[in-house]
Structures are given as C-alpha cells and as structure tokens.
C-alpha cells in the first residue's frame, strides 16, 4: 500500500556512464532518454508517455559541461537549468537566456530540468526556444554509425521542431549539446513573456536579438512562442526592421506585422484574439529592450 500515487506502467531502465553506452541503449525499441524527468515522469504518471525503456543520461559526467569552444557556448545535454542560469558565461554574454530560464517553474524544477530537455519536449509555449532561436542556436544530434562509433550532426534549432510536442529526432538519436554562437559586438538580446501568475506556462512569449550599426538596426531576429504549432521566427517584422533607423515610431509602425508570422489558437491559457493583439505589444517591448542592450544599456 502506498501513501501517494504510484506509476503503474512497467518499464526497464539503464544508467549509462558514457555517451556510447547511452546510444547503444537508445537503439532498443521503445527506449527514451530520461534527463531531469520534470516533463517525462509526469507524462508517464498521466499515461501520455509509455516508454518501454528509460535511458538515464545524467550519470554521464561529460554531458553536464558548459564551455566556450570555437566561438560558441556549448551546453551539454545534462546541464541543469539552474547551472546554466548561474553560469558566468551565460550571465555575462547571454543575459536574456538566463532571464528566459529564470521564469521556468520553481527552484526545484530548475535544479532538475535540462535545457536540452526543454527543447526535446517541444512544447509550443516553452520559454527557452524563442531566445535560442534568435541566437541561432544549433542542436548537436548524436547517434551510433554502422561501426558503433558516435556520429554527430548539427541542426539549426528552427529545423528541430516538427509540430506540437514533436521533434525530428529518430529512434537511436539523442541531443548531445545545445550550441550557441557568441553574440557579436554592438548586439543585444531580450526575452519577455506573459503568464497569469509567475509559475504558469506562458500565454505568449517573445525574444529579440538586434545588431546595431550606429543608429540603425543592422540585423533583427524575433521569435515567439505559444502562437503557432511550434516556436516560430517572425521574418516579416524582421525584414521591416532591418536597415531602418531605430525609433519608437518605427516600432509602432511595424509591430502589427507580427500578425503575418503567427497562427495562434484558443486554449486554456488564452484566446487567439488576445494573443494576436498582445503579440505586437510584446514585440515592441522586447525589441526596445534588445536595442537598449545593443547600446550597452541594461
């Protein structure tokens, strides 16, 4: 007799100590990666996920690393959100990523969950994908080749999501790392979200990355979540901003164009109509903050 809810599904598990061992285990039918478990364990409890074999990857020390290599910040698939949030490189070079992580769940969730897991869960409303998209993040996908060696391929994050809660990962593949190019000089990034209370999942979220040339927007990248089947970039508004002299007036003129890039729906958290209306405000605020940061201001 248990004094709390139990998991009725039976499954096997393995606790690999190396990436090769993990990939071997993942080749089995019905095998799935277990990292922090904050989504997966819940989904097993409520019968949404029915794995036959869980491969627990947080015992692989190499996967927990966060390091700068070849002009990129490489975040291992095992790095917990709280470690990333407080990492010195992230604090100094990617403050907007830290801010997007900070709004996720409570301290306990961030001590358990991983960034790679947040991506692989592929929720349309997840808080890290928009900022990762505007920073041109790539995903390192690992698998074993015919000879049993590890092969890596890199995929831009934009091509990683294939639908709500769906990614392009195939059986036997796993994410080894999340790779972010270091931001250029005169750039700034920002993240904003709207939710009912702080622990809630976002009604809508938005990230922007701006590269500045004197008083002009040389390059603009904007992405939003919870407004389409997957997190999306907003190319229409990006091209309307690029090459323009920055002004508040410009932002007001172009912000409504975000409607061209999103396809929101009604759900428990909000309505399509509200999301449409608030998206342009959110874009304005986010771009404004990214611009300020590109000028070295807060």
């Amino acid at each position: 007799m248990s004094s709390s809810r139990v998991i009725s599904l039976d499954f096997q598990c393995s606790t690999p100590r190396s990436l090769t061992e993990a990939l071997q285990a993942l080749n089995q039918e019905g095998a799935q990666v277990l990292a922090g478990g904050t989504d997966l364990v819940n989904n097993i409890k409520i019968n949404i996920a029915e794995p036959r074999h869980l491969v627990y990857i947080l015992g692989i020390d190499d996967l927990n690393l966060i390091s700068v290599k070849g002009g990129c910040l490489v975040i291992g698939a095992g790095a917990r959100l709280s470690d990333i949030e407080h990492n010195r490189q992230v604090v100094s070079r990617f403050p907007a990523l830290g801010e997007a992580i900070n709004v996720i769940g409570g301290t306990q969730i961030r001590n358990m969950a991983t960034l790679a897991g947040n991506i692989c869960n592929a929720s349309p409303g997840a808080d890290t994908p928009p900022i990762l998209l505007v920073l041109e993040t790539e995903v390192d996908i690992c698998q074993l080749d015919g000879g049993g060696d590890i092969s890596h391929s890199r995929l831009p994050l934009g091509g990683f999501f294939s639908g709500p809660k769906k990614t392009v990962l195939k059986q036997g593949q796993m994410v080894g790392a999340v790779i972010l190019p270091l931001p250029r000089a005169h750039s700034g990034a920002a993240f904003r979200r709207l939710a009912r209370v702080s622990l809630d999942i976002a009604k809508i979220n938005c990230a922007a990355y701006i590269e500045r040339e004197a008083d002009r927007i040389r390059l603009a990248r904007i992405a939003l979540g919870s407004v389409a089947p997957t997190p999306v970039r907003a190319p229409t508004i990006e091209s309307a901003l690029e090459g323009q002299k920055y002004s508040e007036r410009l932002l007001f003129q172009v912000a409504d164009l975000v409607g061209e890039d999103i396809t929101p729906i009604d759900d428990v958290r909000s309505t399509a109509e509200y999301r449409r209306q608030i998206a342009s405000l959110l874009v304005r605020e986010t771009v404004e903050e990214a611009w300020r940061r590109s000028r070295g201001q807060g």
């Binding site: 007799m1 248990s2 004094s3 709390s4 809810r5 139990v6 998991i7 009725s8 599904l9 039976d10 499954f11 096997q12 598990c13 606790t15 277990l34 478990g37 904050t38 364990v41 819940n42 097993i44 409890k45 409520i46 869980l54 627990y56 947080l58 015992g59 709280s82 769940g105 409570g106 301290t107 306990q108 969730i109 001590n111 358990m112 702080s198 622990l199």
Partner: protein, 160 residues
C-alpha cells in the same frame, strides 16, 4: 527488473532494491518510513515533496528512485541535530509560520538550500527560493519572516 541502489538519507546508508518505476517520494515514505516528506499535487507544482539531493532542492515526486543511487538526500527528519531543532525549524515555530503544516517540510528544505548557499538573503531572494512551494494557509508573510530570522540566528551563532 529490480535494481540494487544505495540511498544515503540523512547520513544513513540504505541499500535497497527498487523497480525502475518506483518514485523517490514513495521509497522515502513507504519503505524507509520517513513520513515528513509530503505528497501534494503529484505533478511538480506544489513543492510539498521537496527534499535536498546533494544539497539542492528537488521534487521527490518527480524523481525515479533509481536515479538517486549513491546520492545524499536530506529530508526534514535530517535537520534536527543532537536533539535540537534546526534554526529554520525553530524560526518557523517562533514566527507562527505554520498553520496546517502540510507545506512546511518542503518549505523548510527549500529555505535550507537557500541559506546554505546564501546565508544572508534579501526578502526578494527568499521569495524567489520558495516560489515553487505553495502554502494555502499563511499568505507567506510569516514564512518569509521566519526564513529571515533563521538567517540572522545562524549568522549570530557563527559569530559566537
């Protein structure tokens, strides 16, 4: 399938055999008899099941027991030392930070992780640290005050 694991709970080693689907919370409560850790929502939102894993606050209802093999776990039962309460426990009593008490073990452990990492937190940092612990009775004011007063008590004790 059964896996042999060892949990180090409150300084004591427990060799156990667990099934892959056993949840850490259930192992602590039903097999080790440590009923201080509470089952609240079961879906990672309320924080009642919070324990410390290697000193960090985590949710035991979202943790499969086999993943905690070889790890140090602290539950609320592990805070008392030589018959006296932890300063946090004492402060919760003194400040009236407990009403029904169901959230208290999780709340205290989240606060413990905070004070271990940052002995002199601001009220804002305290609120951030317990953001994942819901209390439906107190309105949090006394809880924040208790954590603040425990931090002062711990620092004063350190000076003596």
């Amino acid at each position: 399938m059964k896996i042999a694991i060892t949990l180090n709970v409150n300084g004591k080693e427990y060799p156990l055999e667990v099934k892959p689907n056993e949840i850490l919370l259930n192992v602590l409560r039903d097999r080790l008899g440590l009923m201080g850790t509470k089952y609240g929502c079961g879906i990672g939102e309320c924080g009642a099941c919070t324990v410390l894993l290697e000193g960090r606050a985590i949710l035991s209802c979202q943790t499969l027991a086999f993943t905690a093999d070889g790890k140090k776990i602290t539950t609320v039962e592990g805070l008392e030392k030589d018959g006296s309460l932890d300063p946090l426990q004492q402060a919760f009593i003194d400040e009236g930070a407990v009403q029904c008490g169901y959230c208290t073990p999780g709340m205290i452990l989240s606060a413990k992780a905070l004070l271990d990492a940052k002995p002199d937190p601001s009220n804002e940092e305290i609120k951030q640290a317990i953001r994942g612990n819901l209390c439906r009775c107190t309105g949090y004011t006394n809880i924040v005050r208790a954590i603040k007063s425990a931090s002062v008590a711990i620092q004063n004790r350190g000076r003596k």
